[in-house]
Symmetry: none
Subunit: 233 residues, 2 copies
DNA sequence: TAATATACGTTAAAAAATGTTAAAAGGATA
DNA sequence: TATCCTTTTAACATTTTTTAACGTATATTA
């Protein structure tokens, strides 16, 4: 039921850049393991499970190409992304021949790195996006299936409209945390205006009615900020 | 079950560069269709089947981003690769947001383009083939064959009309995801007008009737947006 | 703290989109 | 032309969403 974090192996010998990247990627929700050379990277890879590797080319002890080749030998599916100051053509081609998924030359923006990683992971993680997209949430005594737009409890099965389901899913992804009004309006109404805000209030009332059979589930307002779906266990 | 050539849609308004690329890619074994603007690209894409798209950003009539968005709306899986002189960061991010798989800035070497294409196709080949398997889709207890225009279950074989089959195929390629009304109307009715929209609603009713024997298969409406064929969990 | 403004709760009506069925129109073929 | 099949148009029902109106709660300021 729990969607696991994407585990990322990052090998970068520049401690400064390495830490900056690790912090950024951790903040973006990736479980990042930082290695400072290729040897450490291959050792770590053989001990732990990873979903994607980001390797610098020029590193002491063992370079990124060599590390990539070893990683590829033990796992021929895992995405590998090279990161390097070398813009030399031969190196790029060599990287792709090893089976790299991308090759980013420094300097690059961290946003671009993230985008390129996501572009690769979109293709790789079939389960995350398309097939098994975990859109089923447990809300107290209810089971909410976003895909089917149903909210089921022992006593009854409530069909939801698309707006109801969309809003409830957003609330679920922010469970026990505040969902900002503006965020919700932009996500579901595509436009943050006065009337849409009032419309959203109407939907909050509807959702409260649907959820009223479980007193431990509360849909609280945070004045001036948004709403919070609280589930007391 | 022979393995077909990879079919490549290339949109590039610079005739010279376009022809050089087409010749190179053809020589490398790709069946390349060259378009000189975004409009031609989207028109061609809706008429023929492709495995990957390479789009220039700045093109007359319709730019590459707009074309990509339309292509992505009608096919959420097909790899899209942008090709451009613009190295602006915002543009890159915009490209990836649309769902691009790569973004190559000019000047680039044709070898690198080829490598990047192959890196993407390595990831997608299997998934594309298994997912869309030659226009035959499994929908719960049914087997839908687009080419034969049949929807077969154990109890009966339903013959479909061409509009029914066309709409059902689009819904299948968007399985468990919303198929936009406008996209469907442009794809199947070639024109997004009020009466065609009503006609489409009639067809949705027909498809629901055909699919009603499997309660796990649902054809849901997403109010104001489109329809979603739900069939997992 | 009272007055005031703003945000939210609630219900109902209006408006828009979709569901449903049947008839009309269009196209192909015997 | 008669017939069959597909598609569109029409008419009416129902559902979903928005807007309006009014009440209550929360924050702000004199």
């Amino acid at each position: 039921m729990e969607k696991h974090q994407t585990r990322l192996l990052l090998a970068e010998d520049d401690r400064n850049l390495g830490n900056i990247l690790k912090n950024y990627l951790d903040a973006k929700g990736y479980a990042t393991t930082l290695c400072v050379n290729g040897q450490e990277a291959t050792d770590t890879f053989s001990r732990k499970e990873f979903d994607i590797c980001i390797l610098d080319i020029m590193m002491p002890v063992k370079d990124g190409f060599t590390a990539a080749a070893e990683i590829r030998a033990s796992n021929k599916k895992i995405p590998i992304l090279f990161l390097t100051a070398k813009a030399l053509q031969d190196d790029k081609l060599k990287g792709f021949e090893i089976g790299a998924d991308d090759y980013i030359t420094k300097p690059f923006s961290m946003e671009e790195l993230l985008m390129r990683m996501q572009a690769i992971l979109r293709r790789t993680d079939e389960t995350l996006k398309s097939a098994g997209a975990d859109n089923v949430y447990t809300i107290g005594i209810y089971i909410f299936d976003y895909n089917r737009q149903t909210l089921i409890s022992k006593s009854k099965e409530q069909k939801l409209t698309s707006k109801e389901a969309g809003l409830l899913r957003l609330l679920c992804t922010h469970a026990n945390d505040v969902l900002d009004r503006h965020t919700a309006l932009k996500e579901i109404w595509n436009d943050d205006s006065y009337f849409n805000a009032r419309s959203m209030d109407v939907y909050i009332v509807k959702l409260r009615k649907y959820l009223k059979d479980d007193p431990r589930v509360e849909l609280l307002n945070v004045h001036g900020v948004g709403f919070k779906l609280v589930m007391n266990t």
